[in-house]
Amino acid sequence: MKLIKKYIPLAIVFTFGVLTLASYYIPHKISVDYTELISQWENIVYAFAFLLGLVSLFYSHYNKIARKADGWGYSLFVYIGFFAMVIPAFMSSGKQSTDAGITLLGWAFRYLYNALSSTMFAVLAFYIVSTAYRSFRIKSKQAFVLFVAAFILILGKVPLGQIIWDSVLGWTKCGVSDVIEWIMSVPAVSGKRGIMIGISIGAIVTSFKIIFGIEKQYLGKD
């Protein structure tokens, strides 16, 4: 039992890990075909994993409704929203538009899903302002550097800011867009690059731990 519960899964990790790793160094047709096939498989497995989420969501909101928990009425809207997307999808077989114009799915996407998701995204504009107000306070030398970099970037991105810069600092003969380009391509690059390099090594080490079966928390307990 331990074999099929534990060792075969670990063998699967090792096999696919090593094969995928090796395919990077092997240009042969076989390796190209392998990569193509496996990435397609991965796609399929993920599509099934999605069902896992769907069932969990339905289950937890069904529970709320069944127990008449606080605010259970809202849980009904989860189902309404779900069917408002799924039924049109089946009616128009997943197509958002046909020759005749947009379908019901296209309509639902545009006025329901897209309205909601782009609004949620747009809320960020408000938060970015209130975060800036709260946290760009110069309490230390480091905060000062943070402040200056952000200030210049915010200023120089709009024409009005450029006009202000030119009228105040025009004598330096150094346009704000040049300063921005310098910040983005010199000091900011080193900061970003340092983080990236560190992360990549961490990711590589963790990936090794997964492939060699040292890291197996994701398997859960026996």
Binding site: I26, K29, L57, L124, Y127, I197, I199, V205, Q217
Partner: protein
Amino acid sequence: MYDSMIKNQFGFVLFSVLFAAINVSAANPSQAVKKQTPAGAIPPIENLTFADMPYDVGGTALLKWNVRPTDTSDVVYQIYVSSLETGGWIKADEFPADTRTGKDIELPFWAWNASVKEHVVKVELPNYFGEAQTTGSVFNFKVVTIKDKKSFDSGIVSGKTASNWFRLDRLNNLILLIMIIIVFFWAVSHAKRKGLFIRRIAGLDAIDEALGRATEMGKPVYYVPGIGGMSGISTIASTFILGEVSKKVAQYDTQIKVPHYDPIVMTVCKEVVKQSFLEAGRPDSYRDDINQFISQDQFSYAASVDGMISREKPAAIFFMGYFMAESLLLAEVGATSGAIQIAGTDQESQLPFFFTACDYTLIGEELYAAGAYLSKEPMLMSALKVQDFGKLVVMVSVFFGIILVAVGARFHWDTFVQVILNLFGAY
């Protein structure tokens, strides 16, 4: 022809010979062309040869011939290709005669002899023929020289392309990989050694403070593991930290809530939290609804978690894992609801927002180190050593690379500079 490739100026990449040898066996015989004497001022094309493009999947041919003194910008070369024995010529390329030498093929020095004395042209056969037939069948090629509207045909060369077995150009990558594997296994096998040092990580010292406050106020703690899948490194690191945090939560007898984006991550986290409560000796306080599935859609996840935070007003919130644009959506609502916030992510684009909106932030790699720091588990600690080794490699290479390249460029040692750049080239 591959002999010239191996004839490297630098002996320190001896093992490349080994790999080159593999390629020699895969290469196809090419045919040299007998001299022809076209009429006109232009000398004939010399040494026109066919070769398979090395280190690729097949389907790409290389044509090489000597650069002639008459190759100026007003002379034009045309390349023709045919799959038939006679006729059926298709024009594949056209370029001024003073371009396209061996130097323009982007391969490192250990895999390619970048000579300016040779014209080298890549012909990508799948552009003109069916994908299936381009590897393995014989094709004919010819080069036409055009000057002052007069054209001169070269002889015909033929050959077939092959699927190769090794990306010799990625040798530097492979060597680095092998080095890391060796260091990795060395570190792992020495993991039992006690007392490995690890520096202080500010954000993690604040965990106790945050949990203490939550206990005092009698409010819950939120742990947000982000929107990554289980194969994401940050998510794996996050589950480790969750284990340690929930252990402490169980000890303090506080409440914890973990809203999830990915169902697989949720099942793993369930195990982790259950185990932690068990280890803390409080299995009775474990409830199944600690881990809650929210949604697998980025912004509806954010909207829902925002709603939960603003309603329950938790005392402490942890954001650990993979985050995208929702980072600020979550952190700002948490900040306004008055919670102590500790964040950590390896998404460098989101770090600025966590950094400004949260009280403590684990920057990039610190998130990976956090698990080791909290648990002091020898296996994790030794992995940290490997990471430090990697960083050391980078620091040393950057330091010496800068000096060598600068000196080389200053004194115009072009080949030397090229060699150094090739060593750090990604192909």
